[in-house]
């Protein structure tokens, strides 16, 4: 955090100054480790063992926050008797379908579920769900399950969630942590004791993670494991608690909320699927639950369709639901790359992104680019993705020749963040408006300008065919401003916010209607333009506000700063302790109150009991804080929604130098693979690739370097690509500090300066020494950079988490040789040699 989110880390230091203990769990020693009370080096790819052992520690010692757990989680729910755990099936859960490596989640359900319709997760045996990364839609609320499952409040029934957890994690012991993570037992004990001592009524513990947790074939399950631990300890929805995702880019949160992602629509509604969602009614039947706030999904979707197709969207034509294209499976960025290589994808827009060096499998990325009809790149400098045809690594090796590459390339210069106005959504779901400082130079334009004017040109070209109807009827009339006819970003934000029947900006998603009388481009952002005021532009100084600072920017939903904050009060609505008081029920005024916006209906009393058959928020009890869940509970066990099992389970990464000593199933059985010649995997057996490879960032650079390598200050601070190795490994391989090393996988061989450093420690894992090699991934061969170097992403293969289709960039295997890599054809020969053996 101190390295990659430095200014955010000041708050950790504030907490430390007030007595908080800070533990840093990371394969390498960083500036964060330097400031922490303890650094626990861990083998990349083994975190579920550690988290599972913490869960086991809490359960074995009965350290859970019982009152919270009983009231607010699904600990007491009874699971179907058809369910079988990984303990029973040697690393598989019940429902595994070997023929397509996916799960049918039916047996994970709550017992006695008499759900009136088949749920989306279960449709077609779970295939459709997993086949299109559908778990992404749970970014703002959970999947559908029975609102009132059978329960055992004594938590003793062998099939209740609490007992299933205990059974599942029983073998996740401190000894196993030592064996698989390389963390000594005493260090684990210190961590476990500190977490338990710092949780409960009086105290809360927070977990903070970044892509070190997500970029794995079991990434979503890493986060699930932390969620289970935090729910057991009562650390969710309370001040000082939670699990914080530290997002790496200015608006990566915004890019999922209003997604440019293939599988979701704004506000985490699923993209229509050809098999499940033929009509609007099908869609509403399958997508999300009927109880909890997702129960209003008709209002959210119809308002979106109205925002896009305006007056032409009417009840008679299903509000133009038929205008939406349908997905049929995996259309993710990696599938797209293989589509380029195979010739199905002809035209490609790359907007402020640099896949030629920034995405896993660099060579596959470039082979894809070289096989396009046309490519549009928009950026500040001509990045490698724009110049691959003249100076890419495949040109150097002779594998490709410039004169043979038919791709037509347009490079359009982009406006910088100060040359346009608009909002970023930062890591805490907070939208902040940026004012425009100056006009962009020359032909530089904002991406808003580009898409708006491209849209106008395309609409001019639209014919009167059925195919062009969605384009013709699209609402596309934003006010134009300034010398370049920029579309008004505020007008776009206002459309995102939504308007009512009178044309005025809405102030809450609760005002959205299912009948087409309201329009809203993203229901979770409804309220950002409340009272016709750009709430994201609010700038009341922090020092003039409470610590919560509600008048700085605007957070979704409805400016709530801590999600699920109803859980900060006990079931009766009283604070768990004075020290941790946040949102409480005021019995006199009969409303929830506190320094934040209550994440609950303001006037729903704690003793509210839903009437039978209630839907939407009316089905959520007054003591059920998790209002986006169909049952209002925090899920220790996920009876639906995940593609790879209801509980986190330790699987080895796709590439790993050690066996899985826990189960016969080595790696995640549901992980998403693309086994093809242009995406080879290192063999897991044998000694050809004996080291663990992990990638990371440096404070002074940003992702693949497109926004940092061209800056003199940053280039000077971190001038060269390097690899970090321990003194022991350096001695073994004859690597000199400051000299060169070549790192090899079955995909690529790259060279890097050697940094011999005690910051990377060899670990004892499964009875042997495991060396880890760390490489930053900020370099590329050109890209307008003042400093250049080989791209770490070239080393990585493409293998994905089956829930969200994120690649495993944090754990792979490699070999290392002293010296620089060969040039030209000899480089391909070296890689071929490794692949043969």
């Amino acid at each position: 955090m101190a390295e990659c989110h430095p200014v955010g880390f000041q708050w950790v230091m504030e907490a430390k100054a007030r007595g908080a203990k800070v533990f840093h769990i990371d394969p390498r020693f960083t500036r964060t480790s330097a400031m922490a009370d303890a650094h626990l080096p861990i083998r990349a790819g083994s975190d579920i063992v550690l988290l599972g052992a913490l869960i086991n520690h809490v359960l074995k010692g009965a350290h859970d926050f019982r009152e919270y757990v009983l009231a607010y989680t699904n600990a007491s729910a009874i699971i179907s008797e058809d369910f079988r755990d990984t303990e029973d099936l040697d690393g598989l859960f019940s429902g595994f379908q070997a023929d397509n490596a996916s799960y049918d989640p039916a047996s994970w359900s709550y017992e006695g579920e008499d759900v009136p319709r088949e749920r989306e997760e279960q449709a077609r045996g779970g295939r459709v769900h997993a086949g299109s990364a559908s778990a992404d839609q749970y970014g703002s609320g959970g999947p559908s399950a029975h609102p009132t499952p059978h329960t055992d409040p004594t938590l003793t029934d062998r099939r209740c969630v609490y007992q299933l957890l205990a059974y599942h994690f029983a073998r996740y012991t401190p000894k196993l942590v030592e064996e698989l993570c390389g963390i000594p037992r005493a260090d684990f004990q210190r961590l476990a004791n500190a977490i338990v001592a710092n949780s409960g009524r009086e105290r809360t513990t927070a977990w903070v993670y970044s892509v070190g947790w997500t970029q794995h074939t079991v990434g979503a399950q890493y986060i699930r494991a932390a969620s289970i631990l935090q729910l057991l300890l009562g650390n969710i929805g309370r001040p000082g608690g939670g699990i914080l995702a530290l997002r790496g880019h200015a608006s990566i949160q915004g890019s999922t909320d209003i997604p440019t992602l293939f599988n979701i629509l704004p506000g985490y509604m699923p993209m229509p699927h050809a098999e499940l969602h033929e009509t609007l009614e099908d869609y509403l039947g399958y997508a999300a639950g009927d109880t909890g706030f997702w129960g209003n999904k008709r209002s959210y979707l119809v308002s979106l369709l109205k925002a896009w197709w305006g007056d032409s969207a009417t009840a008679d034509n299903d509000f133009r639901f038929g205008y939406m294209p349908r997905i049929t499976g995996d259309h993710g960025t990696y599938a797209t790359v293989f589509g380029q290589i195979d010739g199905t994808v002809k035209g490609y827009f790359v907007i402020g992104e640099n896949p030629a060096v920034g995405s896993a499998g660099g060579r596959a990325q470039r082979l894809g680019l070289a096989n396009l009809d046309w490519l549009v790149v928009r950026d500040l400098v001509p990045i490698e993705t724009a110049t691959f045809w003249k100076d890419g690594p495949e040109i150097e090796t002779g594998e490709l020749r410039t004169a043979d590459i038919g791709t037509e390339v347009f490079f359009l210069p982009a406006a910088s963040h100060v040359e346009k106005e608009g909002t970023f959504t930062q890591t805490q779901r907070l939208l902040q408006w940026r004012e425009k400082a100056v006009e962009p130079p020359g032909d530089c334009r904002s991406d808003l300008w580009f898409y708006y004017h491209l849209g106008k040109l395309l609409r001019e070209r639209a014919g009167d065919t059925e195919m062009d109807a969605p384009l013709r009827d699209l609402t596309w009339d934003y006010p134009e401003e300034g010398e370049h006819a920029d579309p008004s970003a505020e007008a776009v934000l206002r459309e995102i916010n939504g308007t009512g029947p009178d044309g005025r900006a809405l102030s809450s998603y609760l005002d959205l209607a299912p009948d087409g009388s309201t329009r809203c481009g993203c229901w979770i952002y409804c309220g950002v333009f409340a009272d016709e005021v750009n709430q994201a532009a609010r700038r009341k100084p922090g020092r003039e506000q409470s610590l919560v600072a509600p008048e700085w920017g605007w957070a979704w939903p409805l400016n709530r700063r801590i999600l699920y904050n109803r859980a900060s009060a006990d079931p009766q609505g009283r604070p768990w302790s004075e020290r941790k008081s946040y949102i409480v029920w005021d019995p006199d005024r009969r409303e929830w109150t506190g320094p934040d916006v209550p994440d609950f209906e303001k006037d729903k009393p704690p003793d509210y009991v839903p009437p039978p058959g209630a839907t939407a928020q009316a089905a959520i009890a007054g003591d059920a804080p998790f209002i986006m869940q169909t049952d209002g509970k925090g899920w220790l066990f996920a009876p639906a929604g995940l593609a790879d099992g209801p509980l986190p389970t330790h699987y080895e990464p796709d590439e790993s130098p050690v066996p899985n000593t826990l189960y016969g199933t080595r790696a995640s059985p549901a992980r998403k693979t693309y086994r093809r010649p242009d995406n080879p995997a290192n063999p897991v057996a044998g000694t050809r690739f004996p080291y663990v490879l992990t990638t990371y960032r440096l404070t002074e650079h940003h992702t693949a370097g497109g926004m940092s390598r061209s800056l003199a200050h940053l280039a000077e601070l971190q001038p060269e690509m390097f690899c970090e190795v321990s003194p022991q490994l350096a001695a073994e391989l004859g690597l000199d500090n400051g000299g060169w090393a070549t790192i090899i996988t079955s995909r690529a061989a790259i060279e890097a300066r050697v940094l011999v450093s005690a910051r990377v420690r060899p670990l004892r894992v499964a009875g042997r020494t495991v060396h880890q090699i760390g490489v930053p991934y900020h370099w590329g061969w050109a890209g307008g950079g003042l400093v250049t170097g080989d791209a770490a992403n070239d080393l990585l293969g493409i293998v994905l988490d089956p829930n969200v289709y994120i690649q495993e960039s944090k754990a792979a295997t490699c070999d290392v040789l002293p010296g620089r890599r060969p040039r030209g054809a000899a480089l391909r020969a070296l890689i071929e040699e490794y692949r043969r053996e």
Binding site: P6, H331, F411, D447, R461, T699
Partner: protein, 186 residues
């Protein structure tokens, strides 16, 4: 002017005499006459750092239509005026000489960049989108209506504004382009 007085005010002498080199002893007539770029700015825009997602507040100072300085915004409850090395260097991101400000065009099988004016480039891109879409259009797949093209794809960075992502998703959906992705996947 009194020569001794002049020499006596020379910062090196004052520092040798033991005055603190970081304080008054570092001042000279020239430094006293210096004014910060921030004081001479015509405008100050309230902005946000474009790098990581902490979302530090920035004050962007401009004079004569050019950015002259970018500072941390002390009002921000998130960053309290601080910026890390990247945020602090972001003025260079905007003003560095390597920035490309004109359109570049590489024709198929071409060996060099050519120049192109922006309006022509926009028209050419629009023509290609329409042609590719028409050539690769799918009305149905396995008997199910899909109304889409797999011929187009898009990958965006996560420094896109919400408003930009919104127009992208809206336009692509109307085009029937579904392979729309973002750094958020990566």
């Amino acid at each position: 002017m009194d020569l001794r007085g002049l020499i006596g005010r020379w910062p090196v002498i004052r520092q040798l005499r033991g005055e603190d080199g970081r304080g008054s002893a570092a001042r000279s007539a020239r430094t006293d006459a210096l004014r910060p770029r921030t004081a001479e700015a015509d405008t100050v825009a309230r902005s946000v750092c474009p790098y990581c997602a902490v979302g530090c507040g920035q004050l962007v100072y401009a004079k004569d239509g050019r950015v002259t300085q970018i500072e941390g915004d002390p009002d921000s409850p998130i960053s309290r005026g601080r910026l890390c090395p990247k945020g602090a260097a972001s003025k260079q991101l905007v003003t560095h000489p390597g920035r490309q400000t004109t359109v570049l065009y590489r024709r198929p099988y071409g060996t060099e960049w050519e120049s192109l004016d922006l309006a022509t480039a926009m028209d050419m891109i629009a023509d290609r989108v329409m042609a590719t879409r028409r050539e690769t259009w799918q009305e149905t797949v396995d008997g199910k209506v899909v109304r889409r093209t797999l011929g187009l794809a898009s990958l965006g960075g996560a420094t896109l504004d919400n408003e930009e992502n919104y127009l992208m998703k809206k336009l692509y959906t109307a085009l029937g382009a579904i392979q729309v992705e973002n750094q958020a996947r990566i």
